[in-house]
């Protein structure tokens, strides 16, 4: 299953589907990093609203995506972690330390707009 990556100005938006396999997540990681380079994007929003489960592999992949993109000088925001998914992550002992998160896509975009304004 391909994850669609949408380009909106300086921001790339990747929207996760419910049933992503490990291979899909790895594919997305490669795709996102390549596109950040190609479009000289300043930020990436990963929308996980539809994700039913965030297990150890998915969390690790998200952290890796954020760290790789930071090395490119861009920012990553994870948006839309559902309350029950957040609860399961905490029970499992998973964290997204060092990665920005926001309630939803709208909040994520607002956070980046503010950030860009301060940087320019």
């Amino acid at each position: 299953m391909e994850v669609p990556i949408l380009k909106q100005g300086e921001v790339l938006i990747a929207t996760f589907q419910a049933a992503l396999s490990d291979a899909d997540l790895e594919h997305l990681r490669r795709g996102l990093v390549q596109q950040v380079v190609k479009f000289r994007s300043r930020a990436v929003i990963v929308d996980v609203t539809a994700m039913d489960v965030m297990d150890s592999f998915a969390s690790r992949t998200l952290r890796e995506i954020a760290h790789m993109i930071r090395l490119r000088g861009a920012e990553t925001v994870i948006v839309g972690i559902q309350p029950e998914v957040a609860f399961a992550m905490v029970q499992l002992g998973l964290t997204l330390e060092g990665v920005a998160t926001a309630l939803d896509l709208e909040e994520g975009l607002a956070y980046l707009t503010e950030k860009f304004k301060n940087a320019d």
Partner: protein, 134 residues
């Protein structure tokens, strides 16, 4: 196949997704809340991933069980892989031999109500977990 038992063969990362989806569907059918169904699906995902990472292939079985007035879900993950030489070590947070996260087993124990593991080096591993409906 016994009545009411769902078996999912685990051979690849795609099967991890299948197993957790079937587990969630069964949990919802049995009347678990969405929150509990998410905990159950997450536990299944971790158990199935352990099979793929350490044993390459195995099986997950899902079943609704009852004890007196309580109803719950039983998940059994079994494989004929290399087994775990030191279960106590494997149950400690942060322990991993496959370069993954090492949160698997202790994390799964926290997600579920009952946890049982048996493993024989060279023969395989079986993890049985239960979650009771509130």
């Amino acid at each position: 196949m016994r009545a009411g038992e769902i078996r999912v063969a685990i051979n690849s990362d795609q099967d991890i997704v299948t197993a957790r989806q079937k587990g969630r569907a069964l949990a919802m059918e049995a009347g678990f809340s969405t929150g509990d169904a998410t905990l159950i699906a997450t536990a299944i995902s971790e158990l199935a991933r352990n099979i793929v990472s350490y044993a390459r292939k195995g099986e997950i079985t899902l079943k609704i069980v009852s004890a007196s007035v309580r109803q719950g879900i039983l998940i059994v993950a079994s494989d004929n892989g290399p087994g775990i030489p030191d279960i106590r070590q494997a149950m400690r947070d942060g322990f991993s031999t496959s370069g993954s996260l090492g949160l698997g087993l202790p994390g799964v124990r926290r997600l579920m109500d009952e946890f049982e593991i048996t493993s024989q080096p060279g023969k395989g591993t079986m993890v049985a977990v239960k979650k009771w409906k509130l």
